[in-house]
Subunit: 120 residues, 2 copies
DNA sequence: TTTCATACTATAGTTTATGATAGCACTATA
DNA sequence: TATAGTGCTATCATAAACTATAGTATGAAA
């Protein structure tokens, strides 16, 4: 016996899961800012700490580890003195380019919408 | 005196802000699941509560209010007995279609990547 | 009169995310 | 010997997000 409600429900779950999978990797206050800052080239820890407003060492360290585990960030230690650690986006991270681009466009639009609404 | 570091920094901030603007609207455990469930048609409160796994009444209520304030969800009260409240996506919410689509594609890919990695 | 369905809301508590502050190990330079 | 720069980590505190449980109001039906 076919029950459209259940079919639709399954379909709905099938859409939700990948989206939440994606958000799990990207969520939180800092992950996308970190990735975006690396789209402009590889950086050292202290450079990023300076460049990303208000981030603490603790969060930067933690999130970089997360991103590394998800294959989005590469960490290279140069045994210079003092030791320099270079972070960069992986090739895989560039599969996020579309995601970031659409989010960015939507964000710009949304802000415009509400700024214009204020004027009315 | 031109300082490339500062230019790049500004550029970087200019990318970050719209993305975080977007994520502010969409973040949290429930907002996208709610929107996605409404892409399959308008729903009543209790229908959504049943359809979205594990959501509590409190969160559903709260998030629907948030989404309504952001112009993404429309709420219509039918004065039948008992009272029925119908929720639906606004036209504006459909500007999220691309965002959801790219997130979804990325999520599917990411899961595939890690499932395949397990096999190796 | 009790129960059921509608759509919520209130209160309290737990869990997770983030912040503030400090300190470590290394070595060069003053 | 003291200080400074590198890249962190540890501890504790706070804030934000979420959960659990119960209760509200309406009116119909049993």
């Amino acid at each position: 016996m076919k029950d459209i409600t259940h079919l639709e429900h399954g379909q709905c779950l099938g859409m939700i899961r990948p989206v939440t999978d994606a958000l799990d990797v990207l969520s939180g206050k800092w992950k996308l800012p970190i990735i975006i800052s690396l789209t402009f080239g590889s950086k050292r820890f202290s450079e990023m700490a300076r460049e990303i407003p208000k981030i603490t060492d603790r969060m930067l360290s933690k999130e970089l580890r997360d991103l590394e585990m998800n294959g989005l960030v590469q960490r290279v230690v140069h045994d210079s003195i003092p030791v320099v650690v270079e972070y960069s986006m992986t090739e895989y991270a560039h599969t996020l380019d579309n995601v970031i681009q659409t989010l960015r466009e939507w964000g710009i639009n949304h802000r415009k919408r509400y700024t214009e609404a204020d004027k009315v």
